[in-house]
Symmetry: C2
Subunit: 135 residues, 2 copies
């Protein structure tokens, strides 16, 4: 399966998971967002957080590798979007045959080139499972 199709399918799977647990989820259009920071998914639920509501902007990655890299630009743009919009920034990673893990930006590993990475061990140690994320 091409990487792009794989990514789109993975995002759609997450969209279903959010809607099935009472959240709204919206996937970003691939084009037209290019000039501007834009998360892959924007999800929200006014009933979460004891009725205070939560909104999460999620950058999604599905990979066959054991380590997923993120560019500094991707992480900075996610942070910028969240700062202006008012949402929590999250990285969602799904390694083959594993569940989704959701990481906070501060828990990503910094690479030498000023970029970021998350491997399976880090995802398991620091990441939240879907059920833990939506509490």
């Amino acid at each position: 399966m091409p990487a792009k199709t794989k990514g789109t399918n993975a995002e759609r799977e997450l969209v279903h998971k959010f809607w099935s647990t009472g959240w709204t989820a919206m996937r970003a259009a691939g084009s037209g967002c290019i000039k501007y920071p834009c998360p892959d998914l924007l999800v929200g639920n006014l009933n979460a957080n004891k009725g205070k509501g939560r909104k999460l902007a999620i950058e999604c990655k599905a990979t066959k590798a054991i380590k997923q890299y993120l560019t500094k630009k991707e992480v900075d743009e996610l942070q910028e979007f969240c700062r202006v919009f008012g949402a929590e920034p999250w990285i969602g990673v799904r390694f083959d045959k594993l569940d989704w893990y959701f990481l906070m930006l501060e828990d990503l590993q910094k690479t030498e080139g000023e970029n970021y990475a998350v491997d399976i061990a880090l995802a398991k140690r620091k990441g939240l499972l879907f059920e833990e994320l939506i509490i």
Copy 2:
């Protein structure tokens, strides 16, 4: 220009307008949202509303006609999305050679078939211009 291209271009134009005034704007993916309610645009600005923040979910329509129809389903789904996500529902209409007008759902005209409509006269009387919307 095909209606779909026209609609996409109109949405992109709005995305630019929001970003250029300090808002974030996100266009929904055309596919993958089909099963679920999903606005065309989701925009937000934590600094709006005297720092309390605002989030708007906008259904966008660009038309050559003098009257734009909306189905009951479109309007109901926008309202449902907004109720769960926590956003204000708006209808954005751009008639040929005119500016965008933004209408609240309660200001739409009800048609006999339980659907909704907005013509140029109603848009001018009840609609907000972009500059008025983002205050």
